[in-house]
Structure formats: C-alpha cells, structure tokens
Symmetry: C2
Subunit: 490 residues, 2 copies
Amino acid sequence: MAHFPETPGMTGVLRPLRLEGDILDVEVEGEIPSQLNGTFHRVHPDAQFPPRFEDDQFFNGDGMISLFRFRGGKVDFRQRYAQTDKWKVEHTAGKALFGAYRNPLTDDESVQGMIRGTANTNVMVHGGKLYAMKEDSPCLIMDPLTLETKGYSDFGGKIKSQTFGAHGKIDPVTGNFCNLGYASTGLLTTDCSYFEIDPAGNLLFETEFQVPYYCMMHDYGLTENYALFHIVPSTSNWDRLKAGLPHFGFDTTLPVWLGALPRGPGVTNKDMRWFKAPKTIFASHVMNAFEDGSKLHFDTPQAENNSFPFFPDIHGAPFDAVAARPYLHRWTVDLGSNSETFAGVEKLTDWIDEFPRVDERYVGQPYRHGWALVMDPEMPMDFLRGRASGFKMNRIGHFDHATGKQDSWWAGSEAIIQEPCFVPRTPDAPEGDGYILALVDNLITNYSDLVILDALRLEEGPVARIKLPIRLRSGLHGNWADESKLALAA
Amino acid sequence: MAHFPETPGMTGVLRPLRLEGDILDVEVEGEIPSQLNGTFHRVHPDAQFPPRFEDDQFFNGDGMISLFRFRGGKVDFRQRYAQTDKWKVEHTAGKALFGAYRNPLTDDESVQGMIRGTANTNVMVHGGKLYAMKEDSPCLIMDPLTLETKGYSDFGGKIKSQTFGAHGKIDPVTGNFCNLGYASTGLLTTDCSYFEIDPAGNLLFETEFQVPYYCMMHDYGLTENYALFHIVPSTSNWDRLKAGLPHFGFDTTLPVWLGALPRGPGVTNKDMRWFKAPKTIFASHVMNAFEDGSKLHFDTPQAENNSFPFFPDIHGAPFDAVAARPYLHRWTVDLGSNSETFAGVEKLTDWIDEFPRVDERYVGQPYRHGWALVMDPEMPMDFLRGRASGFKMNRIGHFDHATGKQDSWWAGSEAIIQEPCFVPRTPDAPEGDGYILALVDNLITNYSDLVILDALRLEEGPVARIKLPIRLRSGLHGNWADESKLALAA
C-alpha cells in the first residue's frame, strides 16, 4: 500500500503525481500561434513507489516525462514514466529497491551493481530520438512521440563515460549534441569526459579529463571552440555515503574553478586550462557562454553561498537563505593572459533568478537575449521545499544584454512557474523573436497551465494558456523540438 | 483548438477532465481492508471535444470510466473513455459532430442515423463484462480491467429494445441482469421493454409494454416477482426538439403513475397494472423495492416539484428550489386491492437526499439498510450546476429502516461527495455489514479521495482514503464487483 512520508518533500506543492496519461486536444484559452508545430518535453522526479527512506530527496524520484505535442494550433498532452532499469525492476517488485539519492550503500542487495539512473533531470530531442538524462548514469533513449522507452544507449559501444550529463547542448553551428560525463569511471571519482554526438547517434570524439575535486557538475558552458566547466564545492566522499549523510555537502573551504577545454578530437586533459574564481561562491546553471577574442564569457546565476539547503554545509554552518540567493553574473577568463584567475566577474541583475534560458540558436555564440525565473526577494531560494504559503518563484524575467533592459511577467501570488523554454517564431527569425513556454502551477487550485508568452513582450502576458485539469509536479528541465526535428523519429 | 464554453456546466466543479490515464498503487491514508478484492467502476460525462452548442447539457458528455482495482490491500487507478460509435467518429473528425442532448435534429449531417449513445450514466460488471449504460441507446460492452471497448451488444441479435436503461439491476436470487428499455422502438415513443439477461449474456425473455406518456425513465424498481416503473412527467415531444428546447420539460399537469409488471416469459403489456399517485411529484432514483404479501413497496427520494432546473417547467413556471428538494419516501401499492391509486406514501426522513443505494445482495428483497447522499438544507438541489461556493452535497447518510435510526458522515465544507456504493465485508456477512465507497472531491484543492467507510459506523469517518492527485469530474453512477465476478473476464 502506497504510504508516502508526510514530509515537505512529499506533500503540498511537492505531492507526488505518478500519473501516466493522455489528454487529446487540451483546453486552450486564447489562440496558439499557428507557427508552433513540434514538441515541448519536460520532466519531473516522481517516485513510482514510496521511497525506502522517510527523508528521501526530491531529486531521487523516477523521471516522469511530459509531452505537449503542438500541431495545427492544437495541443495534445501525454505523460509517461521513463522506464529505466531501476523503474523496471521496482515495477516488477511492486516496491522501491533503490535507496537514497546517489548512495548505492542504501540499496536492496538484489539491485547491487545495477544502473541507478532515474532519467529525471532533462529531456531533449536529438536525431529524432528523445534523450532522457540523469547525470549519474547513461543516456536513456525514448521515442519522442509515444514516450516509449528504448533503453540506455552506449552509442554503439563507443562511449567510455559511464555517465551522461543533464545539460547536454546542441551546437547550433554543427548540429551536434555536446555533453559531459562526470564521475565518468565510477561514483565519486574525479574522472570526466567531454564528448560530441552527431544527429545519427555517432560518437564523434570523447575527451577524458580530470577535475580538481569531485563535485556536482550539473551544467556546463559551451562556446564555439571550448567547453567550460565550473567547479563549485557541492562535493562528496565515501565517508558521507557510509554515514548516510546527503550525497552532497557544500565545502566553503574549497576554491571555485572554471576550466576551459578545447573542443575536438585529439584533445587531452593536458589541454585543459583552469582559472580560479576570486572567492568561493555557488553556481549551478549556465545561461550561455561565448567567445570574444581571447576572452571567454560564462553567464551563470551566482550566489554568495550554497543555494541547496538539502545539500547542507559540510562543516555544519547553518543555511543562509540570503547568501543563497542567485543573481545572474558574467564570469570572464582570458586565454590570452597568463593569469590563473578570472579576468572578471560582473553582476548583471538585481533580480534573484535561476533556470536561465536562451534562444538555443545562439548557444555558444555571442547573444543578446536571455530569460530566467525570478524570485520574490523576500523569499529564500526554497524551490524544492516550497509550500503554497511561501513559494514565490512566480515571475519570468527577460534580460536584454545589449541594452541592459530587463522586463518580466508576473504569474500572480497563487502561482509558481517552472523552467521557461524559448521557441523561435520561425526558423530564421531574429534572435529572441519568438515565444516563451512555461508551466504555471496554481498552488490553490492545483491546475497547471502551459503559458505561451511573446518572448520580447513578456509584460503583455500570455497569448495563450494550455489548460491542464491537473497540476504537474515541480519539474526540472525541458526543451522544444521543431516539427522538422521529429521527422527522423519515424 | 479546444475552447470550451465558460458556462456553469463547463467551469468550476464541472470543469471537463478528459484525461485517460493510469496510476499504479495509489497513495493511501489509513489501511485498505484486506477483504476488499475486486473492482469499483464509476462513470462521468466528459465531452471529448468542445460541444456544438454553448448551452450543452452536462448529461451530454462522453462517458469516461474510472476503475479502482483493489488487490491485496493496494489500489490501482485507471481511466478511459467509453469508445462509443459517437466517440469514434468524433475522434476521427477531431471535433464534435453530435449536437444537443437527445436531439438528433441538431447533429451534423454526416452522423444522421448513428447511435447517439455516450455510455456515460452507469457501469456494472455482469458475466465478467463491463456494461456501460446510457438509457437512450444500446448497452456498450467493455473489458472490466483494461477498459477496452468491445462495442454495442444486441445480445446475440435477440434483444428488440433499441435502448438499454441506465439502472439495470442484478437480481441476487437469480443472478440475472434485469433492465428496462424506454423509447425502445424510437425516440420519444411510449414503447418500452423489460428484459433479463443471464451471466452468459443470453437474453432470457423480453416483455414489451407501453407507458401512459413518454418520460425520462432513468431508474425503476425490482422486486422478486415484479418490475416497477414510475412515470414522472419529465416529458418531451418533437415540437420541443424542433424548437431547440432542452429535451425534457416538467409538466405538472400530468399525473404520476407506478406500473407493476410481472417478471417472466409470456408476460404481455396486458399484465401491467398501473397505480396513480395522489399528486404530481418528482422522483428519479430508486433505493429499493420489495414485496410484502400483496403489497409492493417502492422507496425513492421524492420532491414536491421538478428537481432538474436544466429540464425546466414546460409551462414556464420558475424553478422552485425548495419544492425541488428530494426526501426519501416509501410508495406502496396493493395488488390485492381493486384500487387504481397508491395504497400509501410515507415520508421516511427529513434529510434532503439523493443517489440512494442498498446492500445489493438485498435488491428486490425486504431490506433494512440504505445509504444516500445528503444535502445541506439551505442549498437548492443544484448538483449539476454547483460551484465551490454553494455546493453542499457533502454528507453520506445511513437509513436503518428497522429502527428508524439515521446516522451520517460529513465530508467537510470544502467537499462534495459522489454517489456511494456498498461492499459487503464478506460474501455472507449480515445485511449492511461492510463498507461504503465514495468519491470525495475537494473543491478547493481539486483532489478526489475515494473514501472507505464502515457502512454501519459512518460517523467514525473513513477507515482509509485512496488519494488521487487529480479531481474526478462530478459523475453519475458506479458499482463494485467482487474478485469472483471478474474471473469470467479472462
């Protein structure tokens, strides 16, 4: 019998959903722009069965994929579990067998050695296939339309990395899928890989490299010629796992680094150049990165201290909700200089913001427009424990890096917003000319609307709301694929 | 694009759901009694596509079947559309083709002559098959576990009635499925049929009969030897349909009748005996009926006037929300007397009540226990237009006809309750010893719980809540089938 713990991570806004289903031709308020033809996939963690431990971590839930299929002004909704090896063996058992988040020492004996991945962090279409990603495990391949799971891929047996990062990026210049794997030879190791995969699913090259210390490498930066890795001390070790502590803990005594690795075959760890940050800060997601002569710019929401209360300070310092607030910053390193430190850190906004996005046609390129979720300044960064009463990530902000103008849309006091996603109006529209898709969850009515906003006119409010009769659980990441990208799926 | 009208019948508590899906091992609060092994099916109207007319009637929606599958203390949830002929042709077209409720004059030309049924009123397992019923059309057969639609049945080509009533009953003595068809030879006709079907699906006999005038024969009474038909003036005619009025209108100038038809082969219309009620009242559902010597008792919630505001007075009288309140009454007719009128009408309660149920092992038999939904006396009978602010069908009442004792459970001010269903504790438990299942919809959070109450200890509150992460749309009827009744499904 499914008794879920009555913890903040399993109740209120984080109540499990666990619903696989379909809604044909979802109710719409307003009009869906006729140019929107394609798919919006997003994912949330949603434990198939009650967890083995009361204090289970939100990030530990099984990946539940949502698909909004846009065609001719209509939208169909579909939701299915990613049928990972973990999901399958637990499905058969009728109960959870895997234990705590990234701690195999807490698993049932029967699943020792199995891939622990949940495919719950990001979903993206590449070469007509849906890549469902969890950074501690290989890439799960799914059908982008049926959401049928095909299974883990080793890309023709060629990929060495045992892990596949959650923030793979498609290079708009080459069309290749560019990603990293960390702890790539085993849990807690400092071994990493950077690799690129063409649309046919061929591994083009894989560069193995080392990081200064093991840490959560949830995202990275891509420029035309470099992959940039930020090393921030959400770290771990076997002692933590043996002690049953949360996998990650934040160690303010460790430095922060940005590594720049040239992209391409033949590159080795020796080609990596590391730059040290002026102080230890927290950063997770990357809005974009780009080259400017010998300089590399790396835009990331940066906080003065740890932003994750559920991965607490390793030395016991209390969580500082004010220092945890992230603000978009621009980090700059100069390959033309001999310096081993950053060339600059610039704060770009007074908005507390996270879940940054860009017009993906400009990934790795100089760019003008960015978007992110903006938080009410009175609120701590508590998006994974937020309750209806205190949850305020309810604004989408737009950053115009050319003019410095920032404008936004506020979803209302009863709402939270999930990660936005940009869709160009047409394939050749100017940068930023298009739409923002974002799930808006009403915490009173428990309904989710997928709203469509004009990306450069956010303040005008939604041009359409795709109105679900359910509330989707707080999720992580999602992506748009144009109709032309789905053709290969057949 | 699915734009639904912003009418009371399509918003608030009556917002469409349209969700087909599955939840494995639904979250439970409390403990599910281990004896509960079987299925609870229920149905609600839920238009596949926006209706052709703004003022569409709630009863016009496509049947959406919910299944709660109980096994070993766990419950799985499944929901699927009944794939009627109407559903299929509209599914292909991607839009509504059938028009107003029971008015074929409003249909698209392409569907003229097709069966208009929606299978949206009642669902019951008989002989291992799920019968999905709408009283204006034949019986739709579905798989009780997969909810796959098999199609309309004519029971081996034998049944003459073109319609199959929504309140078929399984006679606990014979195990046969006993039902009526009204307007059985065509829309608006006064032709009817009474028939019985054995568990193998064989039509045992069919008695054609006539009623005094065409009316909504939504339910009927069954005793060991008689079928009882109450004729209440929710009536109609072609002029109404041509004028585009609601199908039914209430005509207070017409008398109310109760007809008693002997059950069995060889019976004809001449064997029917009609009894006239002392005055014109409204009655729809039947709690139970039974024999007592030459007397026949017929228990029904009775109102002084029309209870259906959406089927208004035929002469233009305004809806009287007080006179619309139904109270459980016992009608008695005496076959041993020459009288053409009722032998008695007894008011059994001061509770405003509807959706009456019994321990189905006592259908047609003298019985002691009944249950029904009870409404707050301040509220009009507005269950199909209710909004969160005014909706108060939020109590389950128990009637002990032996002692006159009435007790109840109140679900709270934020809740409405859908029709209850009794499940015996064990196959041979005494009458009333068992559980009441009922959906409790929270109108603030928009979650539905299927609650399990001890049927004779309602005031103790739920022994368990099966907690859905969605709210099921207000529904009509549903039934329990014990595991042993499902065996034939294989």
